[in-house]
């Protein structure tokens, strides 16, 4: 910091010397309290930066935790360990059988539905007799 441009008088120089000496002689208790006050001030300046940074630095850990949670949830919802994807594949195989069976396809396409009505009636009769 630049001092005053005008040259100092002897009195000003002496006064400055005395003031600087009085600063040097500040006791240890006061120095310690000022140090504590400074640390408290620096800590007060920290929270804004910390909370902002924490949201970034903890992001990979948060993402990993979320992935584990999703995996566990899916696992426990399928006790047999069979995934919905595999179940879908099984259905697709049955559809392939039906399409490959030309007789079944004819029954579905050509008929007026009488065969299915007959099949349902047979099933109902068997249940009522049983």
């Amino acid at each position: 910091m630049s001092g005053p441009a005008e040259p100092l008088t002897d009195f000003e120089r002496q006064a400055r010397g005395v003031l600087e000496e009085s600063v040097r002689r500040i006791d240890a208790r006061t120095r310690s309290k000022l140090n504590q006050a400074r640390q408290a001030a620096l800590a007060a300046a920290q929270p804004q930066q910390r909370s902002w940074l924490r949201s970034f630095t903890l992001m990979p850990a948060g993402a990993a935790a979320a992935a584990v949670l999703v995996a566990l949830t899916l696992w426990y919802r399928q006790p047999g360990g069979e995934s919905p994807l595999l179940e879908g594949q099984h259905t697709a195989v049955e559809d392939m059988d039906l399409l490959a069976d030309s007789e079944g396809l004819d029954l579905m396409e050509g008929g007026d539905g009488s065969f299915y009505e007959w099949a349902v009636a047979q099933s109902d009769n068997a249940e009522s007799e049983g």
Partner: protein, 196 residues
């Protein structure tokens, strides 16, 4: 997380750390002088410590993100406001206490035996002279009008130039020169030209 973003975080983190270091360095550099300035105005050690602590806290909370060269005038502006608050509070407290019964001698705090103990080191003559000079200067400073005292201490003790002092005092540079000149004249009249 993308590498670029990680890089940004590292950069922000190191920028925040360097700012905290700079603030620590600044406060460490001004705290002792600020204490002396507050003590000269308040004539009370604990009040002076409170004023400096409050000024540090407010600077760190509200102005830490400002450019570092602005910190010093801001800090002393805040400190001056705190000194004024404490002086006002003390005036009110003094008026209230004036109406209360006098305290007995038993109510006084016990003196600290360590602080009261004489120093084993012999006091050199020069040391005594300087201590006398410090006492005389502090007494003379206490008798100055507040603005003169402030201008003199900011320039003489803190080493601020006229522009910085004007920013810290919230007045024009011309006013700073006037207050400083009058302070030097008054001090010289009381202490003499060569008082050390």
């Amino acid at each position: 997380m993308p590498a670029a973003l990680l890089g940004d975080v590292d950069q922000t983190d190191s920028s925040a750390q360097s700012r905290t270091r700079a603030l620590n360095q600044f406060l460490a550099g001004v705290e002792l002088k600020a204490f002396k300035i507050a003590q000269a105005a308040l004539r009370h050690e604990d009040d002076a410590l409170d004023a400096v602590q409050d000024a540090m806290l407010q600077l760190a909370r509200a102005y830490a993100d400002r450019p570092a060269p602005e910190w010093k005038p801001l800090f002393y502006r805040i400190l001056e406001n705190r000194i004024r608050d404490l002086q006002r509070r003390r005036t009110v407290r003094g008026r209230v206490i004036a109406w209360l019964p006098l305290r007995g001698a038993d109510d006084d705090e016990d003196p600290d035996p360590i602080a009261e103990a004489p120093s084993p080191e012999p006091q050199p003559l020069r040391r005594l002279e300087i201590e006398e000079a410090m006492g005389a200067l502090e007494k003379a400073l206490a008798g100055l009008p507040r603005r003169q005292q402030q201008a003199f201490l900011l320039r003489s003790l803190e080493g601020m130039d006229v522009a910085e002092t004007a920013a810290a005092m919230g007045c024009s540079e011309g006013s700073v020169k006037t207050h400083y000149f009058r302070a030097v004249q008054a001090l010289r009249a009381q202490l003499g030209e060569f008082y050390v």
